[in-house]
Symmetry: C3
Subunit: 339 residues, 3 copies
């Protein structure tokens, strides 16, 4: 029971001695029970939480290789006072039309037909364009957040400066009705490929079925068709807790989350996507601050036609968490031994 | 060797005592050798893995400031039966044309010329448009995933409902040959800037050379031109393990990964990008589920021309891992002391 | 003080014994003081760094649900020799026009009017198009990185091959002046929504104010208007440390970072965005490698007009770090007990 190794035996041999701590065993049952309970709690935490819930023994990989392709289908007839009857098909209402991960579906629009380069009154909605006399309209100055360049005249009739602009200036009444209200029947087909380079695993959210007609006629439903990649826009909006017809008037922004939480220790057929849907343009108090719109030009001649479509923005976000087999057991085991 | 400090000396002085554990030295060589081997393994793991391989003493930063600009070059003549000879240049076949990180190169297309708003039979490919009698075609109903609105008539000749649509309805034969097969000679120039704000370091993948002609005529090659940022499309597809001519017919999706794994402790000239190329639209069993296409309108009048280009989607993904000097030594050292 | 529990009392009772290590108290003040100082340092580190600075007791979430919408305003008159006077409004100079997170603002452009499919000389700037005799121009070969297909003739006047192309070939003088130099007065309105699904918290960078005119006339300023979401382009470029007029000639790439570092334990009114602005296309030695431009077609007939706009690329990157209440105290406490 010597505390130091005898020097005569040499340093080398002393290296081969095994040093262990000296323990005191207190035969007190109360302390003993408490101590064992503490150990059980620690063991339970490690086994229950780290191993069973968090799968701490497995390796995770967040794959960056994903590919999203979208395709919209559906047509609707819109009758506007300016341009008459027009059949909107996906090529018209999807912006951009090339199958992107983020896209807009036009649900409403305001047209300003036959604009020409000329002189007219600025809109009263632009604070910088308002005037009381010609002195408020400095010639050559650009109207801040406005539509043209001031000519130096003030129109008493409108209370705004005359500007050199594409005339008539955009007529922006607040819309009350959606011109493409049928857009709720449009369908979005989402094809999402994922690839885990480390595990050499790849999968798509499109059901691998031999029945080609299934994928042409199914419609996603959490209960009945969880593996159908086709979503009806009206359903999709209702799953976010909102009403399509309300949103169609002023526009909005919707996120479609595709979550892949794959345990690659199990069969690949059990690695399936989970969809979730949220509205992305809302404040805490559930008030929608404003709609969503942008401006487009239809003809790029001296006569042009400006369209302000109100659109729903759809943002498809694939998130992937893979769990493969790997060993992180060492750390956990050494923790076990310590207690 | 009292277990508690004598109370008479006061609490303060007892604080200054040094408490150490009492050890037992077992002079057993077998246990001793095992114990030392275990210690060596732990030391080897810490030094070899944590320090040498993982560089645990360094700080890492994943820069979010990257910028990707692409430019395509190359022309090809295509002769289609509908529109005759047309010279496709980058402005025509790259969608969108403005140098994005994700873009499409048109390799094939189907044209549906001179569509007018009118009445015609739905395509037989749309299940919801098929009919046996007029009762199957409810007037005013939209054909699900179809091209128009049912008028109430059933065409016996085609077995489909009459619809109000852009007529003729898109003619979608499965393509067998790529109209832009020369696209394999097109070149992609990729300019990728990276910036590590924390380390005040920035670099581009474009070789800093005084020879301006090098960057106008070189072509990337892993062996001979690893720092040339110009990629021939045909080569690029072949590096993914596929054939360009096969992919050109039906389209596909390709990921170009630019990996920057920089050790900023070393000279900046050794911080260079690594390119890798993968096909992103394949299932596990290497079967390509389907091609890639979308629809575009060329004219937006009452007469319009629809084009369905088959395109290769290119997705340039910069991934950056920087390693700078920093200290995470403390944790490792305390681990060393414990054993 | 037996080292092992007496076997007669049974294994079960021995489980209830409390085992503690036997300590030696060395009454050496020097070692004692050093030891206590070490303990204080460890405690100071844990409390000061882990708790106060890093807020280790809180849970973090990096929300993936963000939404960015942009809108540009401002007009300018440009007078080009080719096409005369044209009033550029946001619909013309913003590419793409639909309010994206990454967009381009045209600041300069070169026009190549009235291109027709025909035969003309390749540009001398393309190395592969240069020739000394007809033998250098193989018929049917595409000019690498060029504009057309060689016909087999060599033009002595230009020293380049004749090509079948859109003629005249693009005229690319290096620009010295920005045609849209007034673009510095354009304003960018950025609306950024963030959402933390775990904490059920969402916020926008747009000030919640009842004064509608404030958001129509304010301009962001770090000191005076930190919550105004409208940015003057000229100011924005100057905050990156560059000059707008220099950048407008050749183009450039700018990143706008919106950082949300929210402590959700505090009031939501204290969760506000921080903006930062950097130029993304610069090398370490502050040299700008090249400008930014791309090519567009204005008319898609047999006569077409090519425009090469020089554009500023704006990239809005929202980064979000949220801190909510949670408990990571256990680990820290057990560390405390060990020392």
């Amino acid at each position: 029971m010597g505390v130091t190794a005898p020097l005569s035996r040499g340093f080398f041999f002393s290296l081969l001695n095994y040093k262990t701590e000296k323990y005191v065993i207190a035969e007190n049952r109360r302390i003993g029970i408490l101590f064992r309970l503490y150990q059980l709690a620690v063991l339970g935490y490690i086994i229950g939480w780290v191993f069973v819930v968090k799968k701490g023994y497995q390796e995770r990989e967040e794959a960056i290789q994903t590919s999203v392709i979208t395709k919209l289908k559906g047509v609707t007839l819109a009758n506007s006072s300016e341009t008459g009857l027009y059949l909107w098909s996906a090529e018209d209402y999807v912006i951009p039309p090339n199958g992107e991960q983020v896209f807009f579906v036009v649900t409403n629009y305001i047209e300003t037909p036959n604009q020409r380069l000329g002189f007219c009154a600025e809109s009263f909605k632009v604070p910088n364009g308002r005037c009381q006399s010609d002195d408020d309209c400095i010639e050559g100055e650009t109207v801040i957040s406005g539509h043209g360049i001031k000519t130096g005249l003030c129109y008493n009739s409108t209370g705004t400066c005359e500007i050199q602009a594409w005339c008539p200036v955009e007529y922006s009444k607040t819309p009350t009705e959606a011109l493409l209200s049928n857009a709720e029947n449009f369908t979005i087909y989402i094809k999402n490929f994922i690839r885990f380079p480390k595990f050499e695993f790849s999968k798509s959210n499109v059901l691998e079925t031999s029945d080609r007609n299934y994928l042409k006629s199914c419609s996603y439903d959490k209960e009945h068709h969880p593996y159908c990649p086709i979503f009806r826009i009206g359903d999709l909006i209702s799953w976010t807790g909102h009403d399509f017809q309300d949103m169609a008037v002023k526009g909005g922004s919707v996120g479609i989350l595709i979550e892949w939480n794959c345990d690659l220790d199990k069969d690949s057929s059990r690695c399936n996507p989970q969809y979730s849907f949220t509205r992305l343009d809302m404040n805490m108090n559930n008030s929608i601050t404003s709609g969503y719109n942008f401006r487009c030009i239809f003809k790029k001649n001296s006569i042009r036609q400006l369209t302000s479509p109100t659109a729903g923005k759809f943002n498809i976000i694939p998130t992937i968490i893979a769990i493969g087999s790997g060993v992180a057991l060492l750390g956990a085991v050494s923790n076990l031994l310590k207690y």
